[in-house]
């Protein structure tokens, strides 16, 4: 608000409370010190108190100077708005008067002037009590007493204010002044020597105050002794390492130089003088090797210090199951070729034919099984394979151990694919520590059962139980006529089976050609997709299931019981085992046309078969063509030996010599050499108990294991004695049904022996029986000797024949001579009686 214009003091009133009190007075009435007045717009502009511009409802107070009001009154005399207040303004003691803009027209006019100083003060600075009452509003008090001014009550606040304020406590002592013109002027400093004028400074040196001195009488100190150290340094010339290389070649003399030296006399003399020593030394070495340690070379490497040499087969583990294998017999067992510590056994019922027929309904409900045992779990089998009927023999495929082929009692061949469960088998082997963590849940779960994924057709198979099944090695395969062909895929795809129905059948795993042409190869037919797979069987051999026919059959007139695998490839055709191809999808393999395959001539197609009657038959499987009818027929067996008295249960090739075969049957066993057709090389004496199983040792060429009917295991060592076993050990009380050795590692060899009562025993082969002796290769010499013996024997028979003939001829002649002589003698007797002879005297 512009402070220039002021209101006339006449307008002011006497002491009066603030406008709040006045609100309750009647509108027309007003206290004495308040004088409502109207200000024209000209006056408003003159005094800068225009309504709603300079003064508003929020700021209604305006202070006007007394002189301004008086001047205005002089200027405009009666016209001035302040004229009725002339006297009041003149009487006003102070310089300024308060003009209040009355917006609410409480006194009837838009402005009013406060005529007394006290009222002005009250209005401008209303006391706190009145302020609160103001805020409460109009409805509050009816009657208000005007408060009386009271003497000020000191509550101590002025003391605080005094303390806070900064005042001089004493008069100022020093006053430094300076001439004004020197403010900001440059100053010049110069040095002043402190010692020059004694009085120009005051010293305050430090001194030792006795009252404050403390002597430490005891002090803890620690001392450590260190070795003498000496640091020294020197500046060296730093050379960085560099690669250096030198190329050199030996010095050699020129040829002329050599010739010259060789001709020189010096050399001749030297050699002459020196050669004597050499002769001496060389001859010494020839006579005897003085450094040879005979003692060390005498014994073998075994470290048996005293005591008996241990040749006992220790029992390692035995497997039997209360549910699956009691009252059943194990007909065949096989070690898993790749997974260590897993062994499979085929469990069959222990019933005769009549009993089988009687219990056929019960047997149908309990399917026969092949159990997979693992060393890590002797109580529960790891895997069960479901068979269509009792299995008498089964084998793992050599190129793909997930495929198993088995021959059933009803003449069918069954195939299993366990690729889905290989992890379980491998995991089971891989340590019991991992298994104990979740041992509870794995033990409770029953082992998974895998159903056979393909089975041969019932009519096209054998008519008698299949007694032996073998996989052909992956190096060759066989065509429809039996001709061996080159196998380009290098996987085993063919199986040979034999049965007492006089048939040896060859089976192929691949889809036959005619069937393939009918179906489309690439996309499966919609009908195939709808075929359900209720047993969850892998469809590896779907193309064979129930339609599988043998490739061809070899029919002879003898009842077969066992056969063995055909001879493997000759050694010059090596097969790289390292990069074996992935097991193929067998459904995609097709039988190749025989034209495209190369015939391999170096595979022998002859094989040995053992029969039910104890004969050993050597025959050829290649079918021959009959020239007359053009039909293919099997040739007659070349040789047939009647050696055993009972069923031949084992025909096995030696793992060391390709042409040595062991046959076990009846009460004895025989060793044959392929090519020697006069008879067995070795024929053991008949023992008291029947021999029920046999196997060659895997590491010693002259050792074989024979299992007996009374549960004894005989160890025969051909180098030790051939008339009786070198060792007999009792393994079980039931007849032994199958023996298979297996090399686990260099230090461990196990022998799996299964018995008639369903228990599988694993025995550990002791060092003596698995470590070949130093002269083990002399076993071959032994066999050669036997061959010579046979040859000699044959020759001797012939010789004997001839001799016999000679003797008979001689005898005949003599008889004739004698008879004629006696005739003459009788004639002489008649003619010349005795007296003639006696008449001499």
């Amino acid at each position: 608000s512009c402070p220039k214009q002021k209101q006339h003091p006449e307008q002011k009133r006497k002491n009066a409370p603030g406008p709040a009190f006045l609100s309750h007075l009647p509108v027309t009435g007003h206290p004495d010190y308040i004088f409502p007045l109207v200000l024209t717009s000209a006056t408003q502009e003159l005094f800068c108190c225009r309504a709603d511009v300079d003064v508003t409802g929020d700021e209604p107070h305006k202070l006007l100077r007394k002189e301004d009001i008086l001047r205005d009154m002089k200027n405009r005399a009666a016209v001035s708005d302040f004229s009725p207040l002339k006297q009041a303004v003149l009487d006003y003691p102070e310089e300024e008067l308060l003009l209040v803009f009355d917006q609410d027209f409480t006194y009837g006019q838009s402005f009013y002037l406060v005529l007394t100083a006290g009222a002005k003060e009250d209005i401008l600075r209303p006391p706190p009590g009145m302020e609160e009452e103001e805020e409460e509003g109009d409805e509050l008090l009816e009657v208000q007493k005007t408060p009386e001014p009271k003497p000020w009550l000191s509550l101590g606040s002025e003391r605080e204010i005094q303390e806070e304020s900064v005042t001089d406590t004493r008069p100022r002592v020093y006053k430094v002044s300076r001439v004004r013109r020197q403010f900001g002027a440059p100053v010049c400093f110069w040095d002043h020597s402190a010692g020059a004028m004694r009085g120009s400074y005051v010293e305050c040196p430090s001194y030792q105050d006795k009252s404050f001195s403390l002597w430490r009488m005891e002090k803890e100190n620690s001392v450590q002794a260190i070795p003498n150290t000496k640091s020294s340094s020197s500046q060296t010339l730093w050379k960085y390492p560099r690669n250096m290389c030198t190329q050199y070649e030996p010095r050699e003399l020129e040829d002329e130089e050599k010739e010259r030296l060789l001709q020189s006399a010096d050399l001749k003399n030297f050699l002459n003088s020196v050669s004597a020593r050499f002769e001496l030394a060389i001859q010494q070495n020839e006579i005897m090797d003085v450094f040879l340690d005979d003692w060390r070379a005498l014994g073998d490497e075994e470290n048996v210090l005293g005591g008996k040499v241990d040749t006992h087969l220790k029992e390692y583990q035995s497997f039997t199951h209360t549910h699956y294998s009691t009252n059943k017999t194990i007909s065949c067992l096989s070690w898993h070729p790749t997974v260590n510590g897993v062994i499979a056994v085929a469990v069959t019922e222990n019933l005769s034919f009549e009993e089988r027929i009687n219990n056929s309904t019960r047997l149908l409900l309990n399917p026969s099984l092949i159990l997979f045992w693992s060393f890590s779990d002797p109580i529960n089998p790891q895997l069960l394979l479901e068979c269509p009927d009792d299995i008498f023999c089964f084998e793992f495929c050599p190129s793909n151990p997930n495929i198993i082929a088995g021959g059933c009692m009803n003449g069918q061949v069954a195939l299993w694919d366990i690729s889905a469960h290989v992890d379980r088998l491998q995991g089971a082997r891989g340590g019991g520590a991992a298994r104990t963590s979740n041992a509870d849940d794995t033990r409770d779960i029953a082992p998974p059962t895998v159903r056979y994924c393909a089975v041969s057709g019932v009519e096209s198979g054998h008519r008698a139980p299949i007694t032996d099944i073998q996989w052909l090695p992956e190096t060759f395969e066989v065509s429809r006529t039996g001709t061996p062909l080159e196998n380009k895929t290098l996987i085993s795809v063919q199986i040979v089976t034999c049965a007492p129905d006089c048939c040896v059948m060859f089976w192929d795993l691949r889809a036959p050609r005619t069937v393939v042409n009918a179906l489309t190869d690439t996309k499966p037919k919609p009908e195939e997709k709808t075929v359900e797979n209720p047993y969850g069987v892998p469809s590896t051999f779907k193309h064979l299931d129930l339609t599988w026919k043998p490739l061809f059959r070899v029919h002879t007139h003898t009842h077969f019981s066992h056969s063995h695998s055909p001879s493997p490839t000759p050694p010059d055709k090596s097969v790289t085992v390292g990069d074996r191809p992935e097991p193929p999808d067998y459904g995609q393999l097709h039988l190749p046309s025989a034209k495209h395959q190369r015939q391999t001539d170096d595979i022998s197609t002859k094989f040995y078969v053992g029969t039910e009657d104890g004969e050993v038959v050597y025959t050829d499987w290649k079918l021959e063509k009959d020239n007359d009818s053009g039909q293919l027929f099997s040739p007659k067996p070349t040789h047939c030996f009647r050696v055993h008295d009972c069923l031949v249960n084992t025909v096995s090739r030696s793992p060391f010599y390709l042409d040595i075969i062991l046959t076990v049957g009846g009460w004895n066993f025989a060793i044959w050499k392929e090519g020697v057709m006069t008879g067995p090389l070795v024929l053991s004496a008949c023992s008291q108990k029947r021999c029920s199983a046999g196997a060659w040792s895997l590491t010693r060429p002259g050792v074989m294991y024979i299992g007996k009917e009374d549960g004894n295991l005989e160890v025969w060592d051909l180098l030790e004695k051939t008339h009786e076993p070198s060792q007999i050990q009792s393994v079980t009380t039931f007849p032994i049904t199958c023996i298979k050795p297996w090399t686990v590692s260099l230090k461990q060899q196990l022998l799996a022996v299964s018995d008639h009562q369903g228990t599988l025993h694993i025995l550990q082969v002791p060092w003596m029986l698995r470590h070949p002796a130093a002269n083990e290769l002399s076993v071959s010499r032994y066999f050669e000797k036997e061959v010579e013996h046979l040859v000699y024997f044959e020759k001797r028979t012939e010789m004997r024949e001839r001799e016999k003939k000679q003797v008979e001829a001689e005898e005949q002649r003599r008889r004739m001579v004698r008879s004629s002589f006696s005739w003459w003698a009788s004639l002489l007797d008649n003619i010349c009686p005795k007296n003639i002879c006696a008449g001499r005297n």
């Binding site: 003399l253 030296l261 060789l262 001749k268 020593r277 050499f278 060389i282 020839e286």
Partner: protein, 94 residues
């Protein structure tokens, strides 16, 4: 004459090879292949020098006449001279 001597030595039972070496270790005449010869000549020459110096250190009046090295597989015989060296390798256990 030279040939006959060498042939006679070579013809003994078990002798694998014969080498004639000069004073510097360079082979003059050999029955083995060149790389083996060079190796034998160089190594045995140094060994013979060492053996000779050992003997003479112990007794200066003494001298090395014959050196035989017996190993697991062979025996190496070395006869030193002022100017030449004759090396014979024999397999005694044959």
């Amino acid at each position: 004459m030279l040939e006959e001597t060498l042939k006679r030595i070579q013809a003994h039972k078990g002798v694998i090879g014969t080498i004639v070496v000069n004073a510097e270790g360079i082979p003059i005449r050999t029955t083995l292949d060149s790389s083996t010869t060079v190796q034998y000549a160089g190594l045995l020459h140094q060994l013979t020098m060492k053996a000779r110096s050992t003997v003479r250190d112990i007794d200066p009046q003494n001298d090395l006449t014959f050196l035989r090295i017996r190993s697991k597989k062979h025996e190496i015989m070395v006869a030193p001279d002022k100017e030449y060296l004759l090396i014979v390798i024999q397999n005694p256990s044959e």
